[in-house]
Symmetry: C2
DNA sequence: GTGAAAGCGCTAACAG
DNA sequence: CTGTTAGCGCTTTCAC
């Protein structure tokens, strides 16, 4: 069913039908009703492709995700969708599937660059009005999106080149968590860091140091142990920290998996959590809802990050914003029962 | 940059450029190379919208998900993407966001029907060549997709009306799990069911009964307790089952959350898992990787379900398949250490 | 081998 | 108020 057929059935011109459809002014009530009746009867649906072609505007945004199966991605997408839907935009999802590609083959980044270029080609070919790039880790994306003359927003990552970004705060929440320990009288700290070079690791570390400095407490170098974000290394790291006479009473793990690992390490060493050793995590992952005691953690504003990314993109697309903006959204501290008075 | 501009620069007609682009026969080597050079230089990208309009085929499939934040959805999408990408199709994601809508307002299904109709309108308006509907629960979807003259595949759900479906097996894996208990000498069983009316609950129950009947063992009615898939009720249910003299030595929980709840209940009652009571779960959820002991569970073929859905859809779209097909994919048993010899 | 031209379904001047 | 018409970028038939 096309606009033309509707026009024939209604005995009017295509223009008139188009006017009714977009109620763009000046159609007599009778004509309008007659046309609308036929539209309803026939179940006519306008061809968005044709419309986009003609208007040179697709109301489509490309959502280019590094990997849709990485936990936070779905929530970010959800946030994007929420605002997009409100504003009459639709999303076309392009999934780079980096996780499985990296795991299955030891190929160089250049291989992925090709994939990315192809994904961008398709998205641009689809005439998207803008692109939101959703990272699988929070890090700098370096010159990876080429030949795009449309607005780009980076979410859960950022770029030093062109393009706005939306991230979450690391330093402040880790500072606040550290303060919780301090307020409870803790003086000896152990830190289970994330992976070496990771951006969040550095930022969270800064938050910890900030709070400790304020309190005039120093962190022993040997009490900072490097993990890889995984349960196992978290447990191992905690064992190193706790298996000595003067073990720290406060353990700050940089994510929940490692925090749960630390809790289990404590249990194995016969230490009670939080009475003997207090522990904090980061991420508000599902696991901690089943861990006893409930571990105090930090919740990232994932949905909101998607929402804000879409908001930024809308502003860019509608020329209400010319320069790039980098937004950092605050996190929420989720109180558990894993930090006790000292 | 349009095809026409390329034509001008190359000093040929638009037709020729089109021929080169699609290498549809008969273009002299020299012309071809000249055109290709310009295409490369200019970074020309063909307008997929225009192409689709002209060919009346979009190479777009609509992925209509009930809620993208429901854990399995991302994996299903990933599977869909994997095959779609291989076959030159792209996905447009429509997220009904049912989870938050249901939680935030007590509105009737008719409200959602409107949302669904709208989503379908948009998808069809985008001229998708087919639709994959991804459920948030495994259940029958009743007459909810109207006015679609394109192929539809239901994934993680099914329909009694038109449309193929891809689901995972419930009965067989639960049968196999039950056999594991039996092989370990268990004779007294307790079952923590899922929500009352749920399809998977019924099917899994059938699997359990099948194995027990085979073994000539009967299941006491009072040893079947109804849960709601959540940790808390799992724990509560397990307490009912275990807090008596002749408690069952085998507890089959119908998902992992409840299984972990059961494990904690056992611990609180001073029972060791698996020595005093053996436990199984279902889903292969993240949580069980941190639970001690590792709980024996069932992994659903989520990615594969997406992949198979796309495969079915491709066959339908290319007229290689006329009748509806309902596929049930097998699950995998994930061995843990939560079932001991009796 | 290559080009002219029609037309996919729609919008938006412009004319009446 | 309504209709005519050009044209968005592309494919494809038919001529040459």
């Amino acid at each position: 069913m096309t606009l033309k057929e509707i026009a024939v059935q209604a005995g009017v011109s295509v223009a008139t039908v188009s006017y009714v459809l977009n109620d763009s002014a000046k159609v007599s009530i009778e004509t309008k009703e007659r046309v609308e009746k036929i539209i309803k009867e026939t179940g006519y649906r306008s061809n968005i492709l044709a419309k986009s072609l003609r208007k040179n505007k697709s109301f489509l945004v490309g959502v280019l995700v590094e990997d849709v199966t990485v936990w936070h991605t779905a929530f970010v997408i959800d946030g994007i969708n929420e605002l997009a839907e409100k504003k009459g935009y639709h999303t076309i999802l392009s999934n780079l599937r980096l996780l499985s590609k990296i795991e299955s083959q030891f190929e160089h980044i250049s291989k992925f660059q090709k994939d990315i270029d192809k994904a961008v080609d398709v998205l641009m070919g689809m005439q998207v009005d803008g692109i939101i790039y959703v990272g699988m880790h929070d890090r700098a994306i370096h010159d990876i999106l080429h030949n795009i003359e449309k607005p780009v927003v980076y979410c859960y990552c950022y770029t030093e080149g062109e393009g706005s970004s939306v991230r979450y705060s690391n330093k402040t929440p880790e500072y606040l968590i550290t303060r919780k320990f301090l307020e409870n009288g803790h003086k000896e700290f152990g830190v289970i860091r994330g992976a070496e070079a990771s951006e969040p690791t550095k930022l969270r570390m800064q938050g910890i140091e900030w709070a400790l400095e304020e309190a005039g407490i120093s962190l022993k170098k040997e009490n900072i142990v490097c993990g890889d974000w995984k349960y196992k290394q978290g447990k191992q790291a905690a064992k190193m920290l706790l298996d000595k006479q003067d073990y720290p009473s406060a353990i700050i793990a940089m994510n929940d998996e490692m925090a749960v690992g630390a809790r289990d390490a404590a249990a194995e060493l016969g230490l009670r959590v939080p009475e003997d050793v207090s522990i904090s995590g980061f991420d508000n992952a599902d696991i901690i809802h089943y861990a006893t005691p409930r571990i105090t953690t930090v919740s990232r504003p994932l949905q909101e990050m998607g929402y804000e990314s879409m908001k930024l993109l809308l502003n860019k697309m509608n020329d209400r914003l010319s320069e790039d903006i980098n937004i950092t959204l605050p996190c929420e501290i989720i109180e558990g029962r894993s930090i006790a008075k000292r």
